[in-house]
Symmetry: C2
C-alpha cells in the first residue's frame, strides 16, 4: 500500500511538468510585454538565488550541528527536506514569472475571462502540485530508506524496551529532521519574501500614489518592477513553502505520535500487534496521498474544461470543493481497507477508537471541514460583499483615525469564530479517536493542500498580469479582465491566509504533542502542566514572543520601505523627464534595495525563532520550552488572524471606495485618502506579520522537537536543581 | 496580631478623611472657575449615580443567585465587597471633583509648582487611602465574622476529612464572594468609565481640533465638560476600583491557597500544626497591613513637606519609593515575628520554604521589585525622554500611515520585557517558597497599592485643573504650571497602567491557582494539563476572548464618539454665536450622550466576562474553563501592555511635536496632523481596552472561582461522558 505514496507523488510532479510546459509554450505577446515580464523574472531570480545561497549555508551549518549532537540520519533527512522544499518554491516561482505575461496576453487575444482564468490557474497549479509532489517524494524516501530499509520501524517488545533506555528514538529524530529542513526553507522564503514584497509595495505607493499621484503599476514609478517581483517572491514562493511545511509537519507529527503512543501499548501487551502499529503509522501517509490524487482531479477539472465559467470565483471554488469532497470519499475507502479488518471492539479497547474503523476517517474529515470553514470566515470578514468590510469603508468618511480604529476592532473581533472551530475540531477529533485523532484532524485539514495552494498562487499571477497590462499600456478592456481576476485573487488570498494559519496552528499543536512525547519518556503520560512554574513562566514569555517578532517585522518593512521611498524620490529628482514618460526609471536599483533590505532584515527574526527555543531549552529545560511553545502558538494564532483580516478588510474597503460604491467618495476624495492610510497600515500586517507567524510557530515547534532529546538531559536548570537538591 | 489589619484600615480611612477635609476647605478661586468645576462635579455625580443604580441591581441579582446555588455566607460577603469597593470609588471620585479646581486656584495664587503638586497629590491620596482602607476593612469583617467567629478557619484532622467530602469549602467560598463583590464594582467603573472618558475625549477632539481648529479644553466646545467629567469617572473611580480588586484578589487568593495547600498537609500529619496554618493564612493580611501603613508614611512625607521640590516627578516617585522601601523593611520584621519561631529545617520540610522564615518575605519582596520594574519599563516605552517615543515622533514626518505602523511596532515590541520580569518573578518566588510564594509575590506587588493609586489619581486631577484653567481663561502662567503637572501625569499614568496590568496578571494567576484547588479535590495534586483536549480547546477559545472583548470595546467607544461628534456639529450649526464665544454651548446634552452611551455599550462586554466562564463551565466542565482562564490571561497581558504603551507613546509623541522638538514640525504642520491621528487611534487603546482587560481577566477568574464548585459536579460534558462512558 505504501506505493500509493510514490504513485501520487510522481503523478503530481508529472502533472506539474505538463502544466509547466503547456504554460511556457503559450505566446508572450508584444515586445513591450516581454521586456517587462523579463525584468520581473530577472529580479525574482536574482532574489531567490541570493537568498538560497544564504539559506543553504545555514542549512549546512545546522546539518553539521545535528550530526554532532544527534545522529547522521537526522542530518541527511534535514538536507533532503530542504532540497525538496527548495525545489518546490523555486519551480513554482519560476513558472509564476512565465505565467503572468501569458495571462495578460491571453486576455489581450481572447478578451474572455474564462479563458484567462484557465491560464492563471494552470500556472498556479504548478506551485500546488510541486508542494504535494515534492513533500511526498521526500517523505517516501525518508520512510523507505530509514524506516523500512534500516528497520527503524520494526518494533518488538524487546526493541521497545531498548527504546525506553535511549535518549532519543532514531525514527522520530529522522522524521523531525526532515520536517526541520522544510521549515528552514519556509522560514527564509516567508520572512525574506514577506519583507521584500511589502517594502516594495509600500515604497512604491508612498511616493507614487501619495506624492506624485500616478496610478498603481505605472511604468514611470521606479519601484513598480520591484513591487511585481515581490508578488512572486513573497506570495508564490513564500506561501508555497509555508504550506509545504505545514503539510510535512502535520504528516510527520501524525506518524511520530502513532509511533510513540502505540508502541507503548505494544510493549505493554494490551492486544496491540505490530501490524496494527504499522497501519496506524502508515494511515496519514496514505490519506494525504489520496488527497493529492483528489487534488490532481480537482485541478484537471478546471484546466481541461471546454467552456469555463465566466465567474472565476465559482470555478476556483469548484476545483477546491471537488478536491476536498473526493478526498473525503476516497479517504473512507482507504480507512475501510486499512482498518476494516479489525474488530470494532478491539479498536475501541486498544486504540480508544470510539467509532471502530471509521474513527480516524471521522477525525480527518473534521479537519477537512474545519479548514474550509475557517477559510469561509476569513472571506466573510474581508470581502466587500459582507457587512464588516462595508462598515469599514463607510468609516473612512470620518477620517483616517476612525478608519484605523474600526479596522483594528474588526480584526480583533474576527479571532473568535476560527478559534471556536479549532476548539470544536480538537474536541470532536479527540473524543472520536484520542490524541491520534487530533493529529489526524491536522493532517486532514492539509490533505488537499495542493488544491488550495493552486488557487492561492492564481492570485499573485493575476496581480502581476494586471501590472504588466498596465505597464505595457494594453487596451483598457484587458486591464478590466485582469482586474476582475485580481479582485477574486484578493478574496482567495484572504481565504488562503485563514487556511494557512488554521492549518499551521493545528500542525504546530500536533508537533507540540510529539514534542511532549519526545521528552517525556516513552512510558509516561502526556502532561503539559501550566501550574508548573517553569511552564507557566515559559507560557507568559512565549506569549510575548510573537508580539516581539511582529514588532520587529513591521519595523523591518518600514525601514526597507523608507530606503525605497528615498530612492524613488531621488530618481524623480535626478532623472529628468522621468515623470513625463520620456526617460526610463532605473528599476534595478529598487530591486537591489528590496533584495538587500529583505535579506538583511530577516536575520534577527529568523534567528529569534531558531535560537530562542533551543537556548531556553539548554538554560531552563524542556518544561519551560513546552510553555513557550503553547504560549507563542496561542498568541500567534490570534495575531495572525487579526493581522490577516484587518489588513484584508482595509485593502478591500479601499477598493470598495475606489469602485464608487459610496456616495460622495471616490478616488481622490478625503475618504479615499483615509482608506489609503488604512491599506498602507494593513500591508505589513496582512502580508508580512500574519504569514510569518504561521511559520514562526511551526519552526519553533520543529526545532524544539529535534533538539529536545539533548536539552532534556543537559540543561542548566537541572544542574542547579541537582546542586541544591 | 490580626488587629494590625483593623488598625491599618482605620488609620488609612482617618488619614483619607483628614485629606478630604483639608482639600475641601481650600478656596475655589473665581466665580467662573467655581461654575465650571460645579458643572464637572454635577456631571460626574450624575454618571456615578446612574451607574451605581444599575450596578447594585446586578449585585442584588447575583447575590440571590449565590444564595441559591452556594451559601448565604458568600452572598453576604459579595454585598460587603461591593459596598466597600463602591464607597472607595465614590469618595475618591468625589474629592477629585473638588480638588481639580483647587489645584488651578493654588497655581493661580502661588504660581509655585511645588505647592500646586501638593494639592493635587493630597486630593489623589484620598482615592489611594480609600482603596487600601476600605479593602482591608471589608476583609477584616469577613475574616473575623466568618473565619474566626463562625469557626470556618478551625481545621482539625477530623474537620479536614469532612471538607474532602464537601462540594465546596465555606471559608473559601466566602472570601471568593467578597472578591467577586469588589470585581463587579471594578467591572462597572472600569468599562463604563473607560467608554465614557474616551468617547467624550474623541468626540471633543474630532470636531474641535480637526474640524473647527479650536484648542483642547476650549469652553466653546460643547463636549469639553463631558471630556473633563470623563477623567474623573474613568481615570479616578475606574482605576481605584480596578486596583482595589487586584488588591483583594491577590490577598484572598493567597489566603485561599494557604488554606487549601496546608490543610492537606495538616490532615496528612506531616508535622504541620494548626498554629502554623493560621500563621500562613494570616501572613498576607498582615503584610498588606504594614504595606498600607508604609504607604500612609510615604503619602504624608510629601503632603507635610515644608519645601516641596520643583520637580513633581521626583516628589511623586520619592513618595512611592519610600512606601515600597518601608514595606520591604517592615515586612522583614513581620516575617521574623510570624515565622521566626519555627525551625528552618521544619519550614523547609513541611512547607517547602527553602530559605526558612525569610522565604515568604523574599517572595513578597520579589513582587514589590517586579511591580516597580514593570512600571519603569512602561515609562521607558512611553516617555519622550527615551528613544522609542522620539523615533515615533519622527515617524510622523512621513505621514499618518507610518506613524500608526511605527506605533503598532513599538507597542508589540514592548510586551517582552514585562513578561520576562513576570516570568522571572514566578520562577524565583516559586523556587523559594512554592506555589504559596507565587501568591505572595502577587500580594507583595500590590501591598503598596495605596501609594501607587495616590500618584495615579494625581494625574487626572491635574489634567482637570488644566482644563479649568483654560476654560476660565486664567493667566497663561497658570496653564503652564498645570501643563507641567499634566505631562508628569501622563508618565505616571503610563507607569500606573503597566503596574495595573502586571499586578492584575499576577492576581489573576493567583486566583487561577485557587480555582484549580477549588475544583480539584482537596486531596489531589494541582494540574492544568494543556494536553487535555478540553483544556487545550478552552485555551484557544480563551485566547480569542480578550481580542473579541477589545474589538467590542473599541467599537463601543467609536460609536459613542460618533453620537458626540454629531451633537457637537449640531450645536455649532444651530446655536448662533457659539464659535465667537457669544453664546454658551449646551454642555449637558453632551454629558447625557456620554453617560447613556457608556452605560448602554458596557452591557455586552460586562456580560461576556461574567457569562462566558460560568456558561462554559456548565456546558463543558471545569477543565475547559481552566483553559479559558489561562488562554485569556496570557493574551490579555499582551494586549493590555501593547495597548497601553502604543497609546501612551502616540500621545507623548504628539506632545513632543507640539513642544517644537522636531525641526520643521509644530502645531498645525502635516507631521502634527499625522501625530494627532496616532493619538486618536491610541485613545481607546490605552484608556479603554488596556485598563478593561485588567479587570476582564480578574473577574473571569473570580466568577469561575465562586461557581466552580457547582459546575464541577453538574455539567453537560460530564453527563454526556456518563451516558457514553
Amino acid at each position: 500500500m505504501i506505493y500509493i505514496v510514490i504513485i501520487a507523488a510522481v503523478l503530481a510532479l508529472c502533472f506539474a511538468a505538463f502544466n509547466y510546459m503547456t504554460v511556457k509554450r503559450m505566446p508572450e505577446g508584444t515586445e513591450e510585454m516581454q521586456e517587462i515580464a523579463g525584468a520581473i523574472r530577472v529580479g525574482a531570480n536574482a532574489f531567490i538565488n541570493y537568498e538560497y545561497k544564504i539559506l543553504y549555508t545555514v542549512v549546512a551549518i545546522v546539518a553539521v550541528v545535528l550530526l554532532v549532537i544527534t545522529t547522521w540520519h537526522a542530518a541527511v533527512a534535514l538536507i533532503i527536506g530542504s532540497v525538496m522544499s527548495g525545489c518546490a518554491g523555486f519551480v513554482g516561482m519560476k513558472i509564476a514569472t512565465y505565467a503572468n505575461v501569458r495571462v495578460s496576453n491571453r486576455a489581450r487575444e481572447t478578451k474572455d475571462i474564462g479563458e484567462t482564468v484557465k491560464v492563471a490557474f494552470q500556472g498556479g497549479s504548478v506551485m500546488g502540485l510541486c508542494v504535494g509532489g515534492f513533500a511526498l517524494l521526500g517523505l517516501f524516501i525518508v520512510y523507505m530508506v530509514f524506516g523500512i530499509g534500516m528497520g527503524q520501524l520494526e518494533i518488538t517488545e524487546a526493541s521497545y524496551t531498548n527504546l525506553i533506555g535511549l535518549s532519543f528514538c532514531p525514527f522520530t529524530m529522522t522524521l523531525s529532521g526532515y520536517a526541520l529542513g522544510c521549515s528552514m526553507v519556509a522560514m527564509f522564503n516567508r520572512v525574506g519574501g514577506g519583507i521584500y514584497t511589502k517594502a516594495a509595495d509600500m515604497g512604491a505607493d508612498l511616493v507614487g500614489k501619495t506624492e506624485v499621484h500616478i496610478p498603481e503599476d505605472d511604468p514611470r514609478n521606479p519601484a513598480t518592477i520591484a513591487d511585481n517581483v515581490g508578488d512572486n517572491v513573497g506570495d508564490v514562493a513564500g506561501l508555497g513553502s509555508d504550506l509545504l511545511e505545514s503539510y510535512v509537519g502535520a504528516i510527520s507529527s501524525g506518524i511520530i505520535l502513532a509511533y510513540h503512543m502505540f508502541s507503548k501499548s505494544l510493549a505493554e501487551g494490551t492486544g496491540m500487534s505490530n501490524d496494527l502499529l504499522k497501519t496506524l503509522v502508515l494511515f496519514p501517509l496514505i490519506f494525504v496521498s489520496i488527497g493529492l490524487i483528489a487534488s490532481c482531479v480537482g485541478i484537471a477539472s478546471l484546466i481541461f474544461r471546454k467552456k469555463p465559467s465566466e465567474n472565476p470565483h465559482k470555478s476556483l471554488n469548484g476545483s477546491t470543493y471537488l478536491a476536498s469532497g473526493l478526498t473525503i470519499v476516497l479517504g473512507l475507502v482507504v480507512s475501510w481497507l486499512m482498518f476494516g479488518g479489525y474488530e470494532s471492539s478491539s479498536l475501541r479497547n486498544i486504540l480508544g477508537f470510539q467509532c471502530g474503523w471509521l474513527s480516524s476517517w471521522i477525525a480527518a474529515t473534521v479537519g477537512v471541514i474545519a479548514g474550509i470553514a475557517i477559510g469561509m470566515i476569513a472571506e466573510y470578514y474581508t470581502s466587500d460583499e459582507y457587512r464588516p468590510t462595508r462598515d469599514l469603508a463607510h468609516a473612512s468618511l470620518e477620517g483616517a483615525a476612525l478608519t484605523i480604529t474600526q479596522g483594528l476592532a474588526l480584526g480583533m473581533k474576527s479571532c473568535m469564530l476560527p478559534c471556536l472551530i479549532l476548539g470544536a475540531g480538537i474536541i470532536i477529533s479527540y473524543s472520536v479517536s484520542g490524541m491520534y485523532g487530533v493529529a489526524m484532524a491536522a493532517m486532514g485539514m492539509l490533505s488537499f493542500v495542493t488544491a488550495t495552494v493552486s488557487v492561492d498562487t492564481y492570485g499573485p499571477i493575476s496581480d502581476n498580469a494586471g501590472g504588466i497590462a498596465e505597464m505595457s499600456k494594453l487596451d483598457p478592456q484587458v486591464r478590466e479582465i485582469t482586474d476582475t481576476l485580481d479582485s477574486v485573487g484578493n478574496t482567495t488570498a484572504a481565504i488562503g491566509k485563514g487556511f494557512a494559519i488554521g492549518s499551521g496552528a493545528l500542525a504546530a499543536l500536533a508537533l507540540m504533542i510529539s514534542y511532549l512525547y519526545s521528552y517525556n519518556d516513552f512510558s509516561t503520560e502526556l502532561v503539559l502542566n501550566l501550574m508548573e512554574p517553569m511552564t507557566l513562566a515559559g507560557a507568559i514569555v512565549g506569549g510575548a514572543l510573537p508580539f516581539l517578532f511582529s514588532g520587529i517585522l513591521i519595523e523591518a518593512v518600514a525601514k526597507t520601505a523608507r530606503s525605497m521611498v528615498n530612492e524613488v524620490r531621488r530618481q524623480f529628482k535626478e532623472i529628468p523627464g522621468i515623470l513625463e514618460g520620456k526617460a526610463k526609471p532605473d528599476y534595478k536599483t529598487c530591486i537591489e534595495i528590496s533584495t538587500k533590505g529583505a535579506i538583511g532584515e530577516m536575520r534577527v527574526p529568523a534567528l529569534l525563532a531558531i535560537v530562542v527555543p533551543v537556548g531556553c531549552g539548554f538554560v531552563f529545560g524542556p518544561e519551560f520550552v513546552g510553555g513557550i511553545l503553547i504560549g507563542s502558538t496561542i498568541c500567534s494564532i490570534m495575531i495572525a488572524i487579526f493581522a490577516g483580516n484587518s489588513g484584508g478588510a482595509w485593502d478591500n474597503g479601499k477598493k470598495y471606495i475606489e469602485s464608487g460604491h459610496i456616495k460622495g467618495a471616490g478616488k481622490g476624495s478625503p475618504a479615499h485618502d483615509a482608506a489609503v492610510v488604512g491599506d498602507t497600515v494593513g500591508d505589513p500586517l496582512k502580508d508580512t506579520v500574519g504569514p510569518c507567524l504561521d511559520i514562526f510557530i511551526k519552526i519553533m515547534s520543529t526545532v524544539s522537537l529535534v533538539t529536545v532529546a539533548v536539552f532534556a538531559e543537559n540543561n542548566l536548570a537541572a544542574v542547579i536543581t541537582g546542586l541544591f537538591g
